[in-house]
Subunit: 187 residues, 2 copies
DNA sequence: GCGTGTGAAAACCTTCACAGCT
DNA sequence: AGCTGTGAAGGTTTTCACACGC
């Protein structure tokens, strides 16, 4: 398959796609294109998608529930190793085949399961304390769904997903579209 | 508050923060800093966060459930106007105080509720068909949680949130950290 | 004196365009 | 002939650094 076709499928410029792929090495054939299966294998290897990563979800509210039951993770190389909640009323409850465990067990969970990623699905007010607990337990990668800016030590990676912000970005464009419509119909 | 303090809180460079704010106008005072309350008001106005936006959630599985019950939206100016699912078995069921409605009702929902954003929380296989239905119903902004690249007409905005990709980015860094550790301990 | 607002410089990213391999 | 891989060009974003107003 040519870079032109791959780029069209991905919605990007073909030169960009070729340059990006060139960072992995020369896996294309001039005059022919790319062997998609081989390319996928190389990309997976480079991105570390060939191994399975155990994750710990903290905060089993609505979002935590959804994440615990989400099939997409397993399909993409992630295994939900444990569920944790600070609420003693929730501890012991079973969600998606896993028993909810207390925050205090984080260190042993991380050790036993060799957990690589902590997912924070708590309210914003609890997020920093949970992040501190995850880091203390040995976690070095955090995916944060709480609308809070986390402070973590050097060497710990944090990614934040803020659902409301995603929508706000859409409404910003929506507003601009509306303003543009007005100008257009007036002019 | 100075740009230095605001930048530290946001985790960015102070010059960048000042330049970004300057696009909204001159809301700071030289030698003093910014009036945070006034600044927030100006930012909210510019970003269109002063009005409430009705949203429609399509696909009431685990994620759809979580989104329907998520409090964070209301706090940030979004109102869940309707829940929609293609599964006749789910239609009529009540989630978060709203009755699930069939896909066929999308046009009337969008008209009656003046819905601005469609949220796709379906499996990947259904995502394009749902997007087409949303666009046909008059929606011009889509937030897509399905791991699928949507094709939409000019003038329709799409944002994609892929939870597995977020984790893959973390594991990529994790892998690089591990490789670096090896080199360091070997050298 | 202090901190904003902003030209200019530096860094970074994307696209062009074509030499070179199949 | 056709498509990759990549220098060079063009564009955008980030940072620097300082004139200017409080």
């Amino acid at each position: 398959m040519s870079s032109e076709e791959l780029a069209a499928a991905a919605g990007v410029n073909s030169a960009k796609l070729r340059k990006d792929l060139s960072h992995l090495g020369s896996y294309g054939t001039r005059g022919v294109g790319y062997d998609v299966a081989y390319l996928l294998h190389q990309i997976r290897r480079e991105l570390g998608l060939t191994q399975h990563w155990p994750i710990v979800i903290v905060g089993i509210g609505n979002l935590g529930h959804a994440l615990a039951n989400y099939r997409g993770f397993a399909e993409r190389g992630f295994r939900t190793a444990a569920l944790v909640d600070a609420d003693p009323g929730k501890v012991g409850e079973e969600v998606g085949g896993l028993r909810i465990r207390p925050l205090a067990e984080l260190p042993s969970i991380v050790r036993e399961q060799d957990a690589a990623i902590g997912v924070i699905a708590t309210p914003a007010a609890a997020a920093q304390a949970v992040a501190d607990a995850l880091v203390a337990a040995g976690i070095r990668s955090i995916l944060n769904f709480a609308p809070a800016a986390l402070v973590v030590p050097e060497g710990v990676s944090v990614r934040k997903v803020d659902l409301a912000v995603e929508m706000q970005i859409l409404t910003y464009y929506e507003q601009r579209k509306a303003a543009l419509d007005e100008v257009t119909s007036a002019g």
